[in-house]
C-alpha cells in the first residue's frame, strides 16, 4: 500500500536546480533509501517532505495528507532526524527526551518500549549534557527523540554519516525493528553499502531521480559481466584495459578496478597479455550499478 506519494517536485535556489521533477512513492512500512553523492539534493527533498521547505512546483501526499495544505497535521505524525545534530547541547540526555515527549503531548513511559533498545544504551549517561556525548551516542539520542511520539513516518537525513562501522550495523538492525512496528522510513545515505539494507531505493544525482527499485532488482538488471582486476600499478592497468576493451566501463575501487563488459571470462583472459595480474569474475555491487546508471544519463 502506498504511504507517501511524491509528484513532480521541483525546487531551485537562485538559479541552481536542487531538485527537478522528482516523483516516486513509498509503500507502507517500507525502508526507503535515498542514495546519492553529496549535493545530490537529498537534504532538500527530505526537508520538503517534512514540510520545512515549500517546493516551487509539484506536491506530495503523506498518508493521504496534502503536504502544502495539511502541514500542521503532517508535523504531528512524522519523526525527523536532521543531518546535523540539532538537540540542545546544554540540556542533559534525559531533559532533551523529556522536552520532545512533552511538546508532542506524550510521556516517555507511553512509548518507552519503542525506544528502549536504543535508549537503554545511553541511559547510563542520562545526566550528561547532550553536547558532551560521542557521535554515536548523539545519534542514538536524536533517534530516540525523533521516535518518542511514535511517528507513522520517520525521515532520517544521513543518520550514519560520521558514525563508526559497528554502530552503523546496529543502527540498521534498529531500523528493521521500527519497520516491524509499522513505521514507514525514509533514510538518505551517501554510503552505497547501506543501500542493500533498504527495501527499495532511489538513486539521486544532481537533483534528478535516476532509478527507483529494490536492491535486488537493481543488481539483477546489471547488464554486464563484471571483473575485479588487481595489479601493482592500477593506473597503468586502467589505461591498458581502456585500450584493449574500448567499450568497457572501468572504475577504480580502492586497490583494484572493476571492469564491466559483455566479454566472457575466457575472452577477457585471452585478450590480456600482461603479467602479475589477478582477474576475478564478481557479482556487481550497488556502487557499480549506481555508477553505470549515472553514466547513462
Amino acid at each position: 500500500m502506498e504511504a507517501i506519494r511524491v509528484n513532480n517536485i521541483t525546487k531551485s535556489y537562485e538559479n541552481i536546480n536542487a531538485l527537478s521533477n522528482v516523483s516516486f512513492s513509498i509503500n507502507q512500512t517500507e525502508i526507503f533509501g535515498l542514495i546519492g553523492p553529496d549535493g545530490a539534493g537529498k537534504t532538500t527533498l527530505i526537508r520538503i517532505l517534512t514540510s520545512l521547505i515549500l517546493p516551487d512546483e509539484g506536491n506530495a501526499y503523506i498518508l493521504n495528507l496534502d503536504l502544502k495544505k495539511d502541514y500542521k497535521q503532517i508535523r504531528k505524525i512524522i519523526g525527523y532526524m536532521p543531518q546535523r545534530f540539532s538537540l540542545y547541547m546544554d540540556l542533559s540526555v534525559e531533559e532533551n527526551l523529556q522536552f520532545y515527549a512533552e511538546i508532542f503531548g506524550v510521556s516517555i513511559k507511553d512509548n518507552y518500549y519503542l525506544i528502549e533498545p536504543i535508549y537503554k544504551q545511553i541511559e547510563p549517561y542520562k545526566e550528561r549534557k547532550a553536547g558532551k556525548l560521542s557521535g554515536g551516542m548523539k545519534q542514538k539520542l536524536a533517534l530516540s527523540c525523533a521516535l518518542i511520539h511514535r511517528p507513522k513516518f520517520l525521515l532520517l537525513d544521513e543518520p550514519t554519516t560520521g558514525v563508526d562501522a559497528i554502530s552503523r550495523i546496529e543502527f540498521w538492525e534498529m531500523l528493521k525493528n521500527y519497520q516491524n512496528e509499522g513505521i514507514t522510513i525514509l533514510v538518505s545515505t551517501p554510503y552505497m553499502d547501506e543501500a542493500l539494507q533498504c527495501n527499495r531505493l532511489a538513486f539521486i544525482k544532481e537533483g534528478k531521480i535516476l532509478t527507483v527499485a529494490s536492491p535486488s532488482e537493481i543488481l539483477n538488471n546489471y547488464p554486464f559481466n563484471i571483473y575485479d582486476i588487481k595489479n601493482e600499478n592500477t593506473y597503468q592497468t586502467i589505461e591498458y584495459f581502456k585500450k584493449i576493451i574500448p567499450d568497457a566501463i572501468i572504475n577504480r575501487f580502492g586497490q583494484s578496478l572493476h571492469c564491466s563488459t559483455q566479454l566472457s571470462f575466457d575472452e577477457i583472459i585471452q585478450a590480456t597479455d600482461i603479467n602479475n595480474i589477478l582477474i576475478e569474475k564478481i557479482e556487481p555491487t550497488i556502487e557499480d550499478c549506481f555508477l553505470w546508471i549515472s553514466q547513462q544519463q
Binding site: L52, L87, D90, F99, E102, I103, G105, C145
Partner: protein
C-alpha cells in the same frame, strides 16, 4: 498549555546554565547602576579653588569659611597677590579663584556695596558653570545672613528652589535611564539572541517539525525573559532606594504598570529583530547599535532632548525608551499618575502593537 510549560522550562534551563547570560542579567545591572550612579555624575564635589582675600576682615572671613565648609569646594590654595592667578590656573591646581576686594566689610557697611571677583577655568565649561553657580549661591546666602544680623539691606536677593530633586542629585535622573537601558539589554538583546540561536544551531528546524504553534514558540521564548525583567527592575528599584535614596512619589502600581508595558514593548522589539536576522552576531549588533545607543543618547537619559538640534529631536520621537524614561521620572520624582502620563502609555502600547503585527507577519513556519 503543557507544551508551553515544557518550552518555558527548557528556556530556563538555557538561561541558568549559561554563565554569560546570568552575568548579563544580574551583574551588569548592578555594575551599571553603580557606575552611572556614582561615577558619571553631574554633581560637583570638592572643587579645588583658590582664595585671594585682600581685606581679611569679618565679612570676608565669613565668606571664606562658608566656602570651606561647603562640600562643593575645598580650598586648594591661598593666594597672596593677583600675580599668582595665571600660574595657578595653568598648573591646574584650582578650577576657580575668588578674589575679595580690599576693605570688604567697611565698604559694605559704608556704601552698602562691595565686590567679589570670581575667575573660573572655562576649559571645562560645565565645571566652570557649576562652580560659578555654586559660588553665587553661597554669596547670596551670605548676603541674606548679614541682612538678618545687621541693619544693612542687601541690594538684591535671589531665591532658587529646586523642585522634585531639591538637592539636584544626578543619580535620581540617571536611574530611570539605567532601568530603560537594562530592560533593553535583557528584553531586546537576550530575547532576540535566544531565538536566533535556535535558528543557528539547527534546533529551530526540529522545533518546526513538531505540533508546536509559532505563537507557542514565541510566548515560550518571551515569558522567561519577562519574568526575569520584572525581577530585575524590582532589584534596581531596590538598589536605587538603598544606595541613592531614590524616591517613588507616585504609586507603585503605576510604576509597575508602566514598566510591564515597556517590558512587553522591548520583548516585541526583540522578537521583531530575531525573526528578521539569521545569526547571533547580527542580532546583538542591531540590539546594541539600533537600541542601546539611542537609549543612551537620544532618549533624554543623559542629554536633555530640548538641547538637541531639531532634526535629532524629531528622531527621538520614535525612540521607545524616551517615553519610558519620561514616564519613570514622572512617577518616581514628580508623583505623576495616569492623568499626566497617558500619552506615554498610549505611545508604548501603539509601538508594541506595531512590532507584534510585524513580527507575526515575518515569522516563518518553514525554513525557506
Amino acid at each position: 498549555m503543557k507544551q508551553l510549560i515544557a518550552f518555558i522550562k527548557k528556556e530556563f534551563f538555557h538561561i541558568f546554565r549559561d554563565w554569560r547570560t546570568l552575568i548579563v542579567i544580574f551583574a551588569i545591572p548592578a555594575i551599571q547602576l553603580i557606575v552611572f550612579g556614582y561615577a558619571i555624575s553631574n554633581d560637583l564635589n570638592n572643587i579645588s579653588i583658590g582664595i585671594l582675600d585682600k581685606s581679611n576682615d569679618e565679612f570676608s572671613k565669613k565668606i571664606v569659611s562658608k566656602m570651606t565648609f561647603s562640600n562643593f569646594f575645598k580650598i586648594g590654595h591661598i593666594l597672596q597677590s593677583e600675580k599668582e592667578i595665571e600660574k595657578l590656573f595653568k598648573s591646574g591646581k584650582v578650577k576657580e579663584v575668588v578674589i575679595i576686594q580690599q576693605n570688604f566689610s567697611k565698604s559694605i557697611i559704608k556704601n552698602g556695596i562691595a565686590s567679589i571677583q570670581i575667575i573660573a577655568d572655562a576649559s571645562e565649561p560645565n565645571t566652570a558653570n557649576l562652580a560659578i553657580n555654586y559660588t553665587s549661591a553661597l554669596i547670596n546666602n551670605f548676603v541674606q545672613d548679614i541682612s538678618k544680623t545687621t541693619a544693612i539691606v542687601p541690594p538684591y536677593s535671589i531665591e532658587v528652589k529646586m523642585l522634585y530633586n531639591p538637592t539636584l542629585q544626578s543619580s535620581w535622573m540617571f536611574i530611570p535611564g539605567i532601568i530603560a537601558l537594562i530592560l533593553t539589554l535583557i528584553s531586546v538583546m537576550l530575547t532576540s539572541v535566544s531565538i536566533v540561536k535556535e535558528k543557528e544551531y539547527g534546533s529551530m528546524e526540529l522545533l518546526l517539525v513538531t505540533p508546536l504553534k509559532s505563537l507557542t514558540i514565541i510566548i515560550g521564548k518571551v515569558v522567561p525573559y519577562f519574568i526575569l525583567s520584572i525581577i530585575n527592575i524590582s532589584f534596581i528599584f531596590l538598589l536605587g532606594h538603598i544606595f541613592f535614596a531614590l524616591p517613588v512619589q507616585g504609586s507603585l502600581f503605576t510604576l509597575y504598570m508602566l514598566s510591564t508595558m515597556y517590558i512587553i514593548l522591548a520583548l516585541s522589539i526583540g522578537i521583531f529583530i530575531s525573526v528578521n536576522v539569521a545569526n547571533q552576531q547580527v542580532a546583538m549588533l542591531i540590539s546594541l547599535v539600533a537600541l542601546m545607543l539611542p537609549t543612551i543618547l537620544l532618549s533624554g537619559f543623559i542629554f536633555p532632548i530640548e538641547n538637541m538640534p531639531k532634526w535629532l529631536q524629531l528622531f527621538s520621537i520614535i525612540m521607545p525608551p524616551r517615553y519610558f524614561i519620561e514616564g519613570l521620572r514622572g512617577i518616581m520624582l514628580k508623583g505623576n499618575g495616569f492623568q499626566e502620563l497617558w500619552i506615554n502609555f498610549l505611545v508604548i502600547m501603539f509601538m508594541t502593537f506595531i512590532f507584534i503585527i510585524l513580527s507575526i507577519k515575518r515569522f516563518k513556519s518553514r525554513l525557506i
